[in-house]
């Protein structure tokens, strides 16, 4: 393993190479290990290459990512080597003779040890392309460097311990004297909406992509409700909105949604799922945690403040809701707390570096344990003198999250079996390892300091994903050189503005919802067939990407469609417990140290059966008083009016002519001639059933 690492980091001595070759020839399992190692490494490189590879139609001259890269020797070399390199990779995988593998492997190395400059250089992309309306502005050289944190600019120094939160680095690019640039002062005057629009339009132009047309009002309204409120719009809202002739009705709707309690409920549901999961242990007071999150989003408290509180919380799980985040993950020497804090809040996958150095980013094993060391003083103490709390049928163990005055390092074992010490250190800053220093409070301070802390980048990336269907990075959990952002400059600027504005969550969401890409339809247009991240293309956001509803969204949307008057607030105990029970049946917990769980709800036969035949659906289709079905049946209008109302309630659009025809047939054939009411009722039920079970219903589009 040590030798493999040496190979990948291009520091294999002649003697090592000889020894490696010998080992590989001698031992089959080492051969397999070596192949696996290079394969992983090759895959990472492949996908990195793929993610910056131009879409086929713009190979020549107009890729937004490639085109802006100045032709440094290294980038040219990488580009020209890509294809043969892939061939080499395939041959690597298939080669049986170890010696061949060694030769090929060694030839690969230089391209893998350092991240490709194409993918990861914010500087290069920051050079504004020539075709913008302000292209005549004078060159403003080096200004960006003043605005960026220093850590972005350094060259890769492979042997040093890079800080955990280091943003993708790249070799220094030579100065670029002749490129026109939009003055930063000019950009700074733009509103955030203008900034987003400018950046995306520029990338569409460069990729020769025509964005999809604007979404019609029904499609847009349904999406913005699902994104902000967490469920579909009630039928009356749909009717009013479609009838509204005001030009600014979308802005008015966004502001209305941001002020509704369901906005905070929805964000609390989403973040609770990410931070503590759907099925935490009995020591976690999920309801208190949700309340904490809801209050935070409701009061629009700065995200930096929320992160600081989550990380440094102390107190009783039922009284201080924020303590439940760490209480949920303190098992196994706080390894889950370390990994999940990094993954969810910083957008960095570091759990693998728990055991070994990350070979291709600069995250080292030491960094994992240095980060872990911040949680060393933390302890979850069970309060045996207090009775368990009853929370809607669940029994919650009273637990107090405390800090103990522990000093010094923690120890971890390297792959070679050496014990090493790790002192609390984040992003290059080490804090005093003394027992009287509150490490988590120090961590909270470090996480929230700077012009563009990683917590801001990660949050912006996730909000973008939530609203537009894809994040800037292929995996939002894992921002790094191996997973470069599609629009690095925009991500950085949005993050900086988010920080400068006091981590204003509502403002960020409002800006993105008002921006041009959010107004587009999810359909492919005439000129953007290639904008298809589903098959692995870089997202260009020239249409809104479809996403499946979560189990919570389906539950609440079914309720909204069938019983528009009913409360679906998270604070409504009855409702939230029923929803929890319904969702819970789809969750499978893996009994592991990583506190993993999986959902069997995502597009399985189990989900289909539940929605087709389950008791919940059956109950919702009963035309009891106060339900939409009963209202519709009692209305005096024609069957066309009634069916139109059902369609608006489920899909936020009127039925298409052929659909209406089929619906009417269902209703007519279901009406027995003698006892009219029950038969007709069944017909409407069947139509509603079909609408609520459709792909169009269960997707956010």
């Amino acid at each position: 393993m040590r030798l493999c690492e040496a190979v990948c980091e291009d520091r294999l001595s002649a003697a090592d190479a000889e020894r490696l070759e010998h080992l590989l020839v001698e031992h089959r399992e080492w051969r397999a290990l070596y192949l696996g190692y290079l394969d992983l490494h090759g895959t990472l490189h492949w996908d990195q290459g793929g993610s910056v590879a131009p879409p086929p139609m713009v190979v020549s001259d107009s890729n937004p990512l490639l085109d802006q890269v100045p032709p440094t020797p290294s980038s040219v070399a990488t580009t020209s080597h890509r294809v043969p390199w892939r061939k080499q990779l395939i041959s690597t995988v298939m080669a049986v003779a170890a010696i061949v593998v060694v030769m090929v492997g060694i030839r690969l190395i230089p391209w893998s040890a350092a991240p490709s400059p194409i993918a990861t250089s914010p500087d290069s992309v920051a050079v504004t392309p020539p075709s913008t309306d302000v292209a005549d502005e004078p060159v403003v050289k080096n200004v960006p460097e003043v605005r960026r944190p220093v850590r972005l600019d350094g060259p890769v120094v492979a042997e040093t311990n890079k800080p955990l939160a280091a943003v993708p680095t790249s070799p220094i690019l030579p100065p670029e004297p002749d490129r026109p640039v939009v003055a930063d002062a000019e950009r700074a005057r733009w509103s955030t909406v203008e900034l987003i629009n400018h950046e995306l339009r520029t990338s569409w132009e460069l990729s020769d992509i025509q964005p999809s047309p604007r979404a019609d009002d029904g499609e847009w309204l349904r999406r913005v409700w699902l994104d902000l409120a967490g469920f579909i719009p009630p039928v009356d809202v749909v009717q009013d909105f479609l009838a509204d002739r005001n030009a600014d009705k979308r802005t008015v709707m966004i502001d209305r949604l941001l002020d509704q309690p369901s906005y905070a409920d929805n964000l609390a549901t989403i973040w609770s799922r990410m931070l503590i999961g759907r099925r935490p242990g009995p020591q976690v007071d999920r309801m208190a945690f949700n309340e904490y999150l809801r209050d935070s989003f409701e009061g629009n408290r700065g995200w930096d403040q929320v992160v600081a509180e989550l990380v440094s919380a102390e107190g009783l799980n039922s009284e201080r809701g924020e303590t439940n985040f760490l209480i949920a993950h303190l098992n196994n020497e706080a390894v889950p707390a370390t990994a999940i804090t990094a993954r969810v809040l910083l957008g960095q996958q570091i759990q693998c570096t728990q055991c070994h150095n990350h070979p291709f980013s600069d995250t080292r094993q030491a960094a994992f344990w240095e980060f872990n060391s911040f949680f060393q003083q933390t302890s979850a103490v069970q309060m045996t003198d207090r009775p368990a709390m009853q929370r809607g049928g669940e029994s919650i163990v009273p637990v107090r999250l405390e800090n103990r005055p522990i000093g010094g390092p923690i120890y971890y074992e390297t792959l070679t079996g050496l014990m090493r010490a790790a002192f609390p250190r984040y992003d290059g800053t080490e804090i005093a390892p003394d027992s009287d220093v509150n490490r988590r409070r120090e961590l909270a301070r470090l996480l929230t300091t700077g012009e563009r802390p990683q917590i801001a980048v990660s949050f912006v990336n996730r909000v973008w994903q939530h609203l537009l269907g894809r994040a800037f990075t292929a995996i939002p959990d894992d921002i790094g050189p191996h997973n470069p952002p599609s629009h690095p400059r925009l991500l950085n600027e949005l993050s900086e503005r988010f920080v400068a504005g006091g981590y204003n969550v509502r403002q960020l969401i409002r800006d993105i919802c008002l921006s041009e890409p959010y107004q587009l339809t999810s359909r492919f247009g005439e000129g953007n067939a290639l904008d298809n991240p589903e098959v692995g293309e870089v997202p260009l956001f020239s249409r809104v990407y479809v996403k499946p509803m979560t189990a919570e969204q389906i539950h609440d949307s079914l309720l909204t469609a069938t019983r528009p008057g009913e409360s679906i607030q998270l604070g409504d105990l009855d409702h939230s417990q029923r929803r929890t029970r319904w969702v819970d049946r789809f969750i499978v917990s893996f009994d592991t140290e990583e506190n993993d769980e999986a959902s069997t709800f995502d597009g399985t036969i189990t989900q289909a059966l539940t929605l087709m035949n389950g008791p919940f659906m059956e109950e919702l289709l009963e035309p009891r008083a106060g339900t939409l079905l009963s209202d519709v049946l009692r209305e005096p209008g024609s069957d066309v009016d009634r069916l139109r109302r059902l369609s608006l309630a489920a899909l936020a659009r009127p039925p298409r002519p052929e659909e209406l025809q089929a619906m009417r047939k269902v209703v007519r054939t279901s009406a027995p001639r003698t006892a009219r009411e029950p038969g007709q009722e069944r017909g409407y039920q069947d139509v509603f059933w079909a609408l609520l079970n459709s792909n169009e219903f269960s997707l956010v589009h």
Partner: protein, 436 residues
């Protein structure tokens, strides 16, 4: 084909209704296709039953004992009908061991539950950029998709947590059931065939319109899964899940307990035997891959007592019962059995009389499907801590052997969504001692 579905409606009856309701829906086409090919069912069909020992079984106490070593533990080896010895607490299996072989030289390096589960199921080490399909999903894709008479999912997992179909897509994900075989919401309740047909034709119209609106893959995937769900709801093959239809004598064969009256299920919480019996029924119905989960092997403490009193009696009866039953039915040459967990357990016995995770040298059992039985492939050293034979084996080799037994060509290559070619079983080699 005229067997009653769970709510008492015959399939033919239902299909007639569907036909009148709407001739256009693809489920309908699928079903008529089924009838045309019903004769396929009569053919002998290849299948694999994976016995998944969740938690990581101590194979040193089951298949590869080390008497005389400090790592040997409490158990003694006994002779078998095959050419190898196994644990004294596996006496029934010993009597049929000429049908089962043990690969004693597994060396797999992933000793974490999640990573081990992934590695053993897919033959690929977890990788951040691609999700590999479990071998069950591969079989669903390669074999299940060609069995047009099969109306229930081609990869069924009994009692387990499920694995990912990866880039092969949700249509090949495992269908999860528990050991009771009860499938929630699979019957239509009070809804008549007329009404279901009416609902489905209406649904189909809306779904097709959405798919036509050209918004990516999700719309079609949703429709495909609904098609599968409807197939399952209306299929007579659903009866395969109903283990209670077996005779008490057959049940007893799998549970190792005396035959009791019908309806009395196996005592002692022996869900393993019951699940294996369900697996046999599913394979008979044409399902090509069934996974049976048997947990409780993460024995960091008190390993010997737990094995002797709980795990091994159930394991022994289940394996022996399954082999005997399959042989009696003339199915054993078509059904490959694989027995494995995430990894083995440390040869060294820890201070809690337990064994910890160990992937460097452990065993997998395999048999049926025409493979050679009763042999030990490879060997570990006298203390069980390393591989002593010249050859060691990876999960890809195990799955390549299964692919060989099932007639899936080993040069099959799948392509990830990113366009990357992936060899079946990660390019593993069928084990020559088993196929020769």
């Amino acid at each position: 084909m005229n067997l009653p579905t769970p709510d008492g409606m015959s399939r033919r009856h239902f299909m007639r209704h569907l036909a009148t309701a709407a001739a256009t829906i693809p489920t309908m086409q699928f079903i008529s296709h089924v009838q045309a090919n019903a004769a396929d069912l009569k053919k002998r069909q290849k299948a694999c039953i994976l016995m998944w020992m969740s938690g990581g079984p101590p194979t040193i106490d089951i298949w590869d004992l080390k008497p005389g070593s400090k790592n040997g533990g409490d158990f003694k080896p006994i002779a078998t009908k095959g050419d190898l010895q196994i644990s004294e607490h596996m006496p029934k299996t010993a009597m049929v061991m000429d049908n089962l072989s043990v690969i004693r030289a597994m060396s797999t390096r992933e000793a974490d539950h999640n990573r081990g589960r992934y590695y053993m199921h897919t033959a690929y080490v977890p990788n951040p950029t691609v999700v590999h399909p479990s071998f069950g999903s591969v079989v669903s894709y390669e074999v299940g998709a060609k069995r047009s008479a099969l109306e229930i999912p081609a990869y069924i997992s009994i009692g387990g947590g499920g694995t990912s179909p990866g880039f092969l897509g949700m249509a090949h994900s495992p269908f999860l059931v528990d050991s009771t075989g009860r499938i929630n919401n699979a019957d239509m309740g009070n809804v008549t065939a007329d009404r279901l047909g009416q609902r489905l034709s209406m649904l189909s119209l809306v779904e097709d319109n959405f798919i036509k609106s050209n918004r990516g893959e999700y719309g079609q995937a949703h429709k495909d899964i609904y098609g599968k769900a409807v197939n399952l709801m209306t299929s007579a093959q659903m009866e395969a899940f109903q283990v209670e239809k077996e005779s008490p004598e057959t049940l007893a064969m799998y549970s190792g307990e005396p035959a009791q009256g019908r309806g009395m299920m196996m005592g002692g919480g022996n869900n393993f035997g019951r699940s294996l019996l369900m697996a046999r029924r599913l394979v008979e119905a044409g399902v090509p891959f069934v996974e049976v989960d048997f947990g409780g092997w993460d024995l960091h403490q008190n390993v010997f007592q737990t094995l002797r009193d709980q795990r091994l009696p159930a394991l022994d009866a289940g394996i022996a019962g399954l082999i005997t039953d399959l042989k009696q039915r003339g199915m054993y040459d078509d059904v490959t059995l694989v027995w494995m967990g995430e990894f083995g357990r440390t040869p060294r016995i820890n201070q809690d009389i337990g064994r910890d995770h160990w992937a460097a040298s452990w065993s997998v059992a395999i048999g049926g499907g025409g493979l050679r039985g009763g042999v030990a492939v490879g060997e570990t050293d006298k203390d069980g801590t390393s591989i002593a034979s010249s050859q060691s084996y990876l999960p890809g080799d195990v799955w390549a052997t299964v692919a060989h037994a099932m007639g899936i060509p080993l040069d099959t290559v799948h392509t990830s969504k990113r366009g990357r070619p992936m060899k079946i079983a990660n390019g593993g080699t069928a084990i020559k001692e088993l196929i020769g």
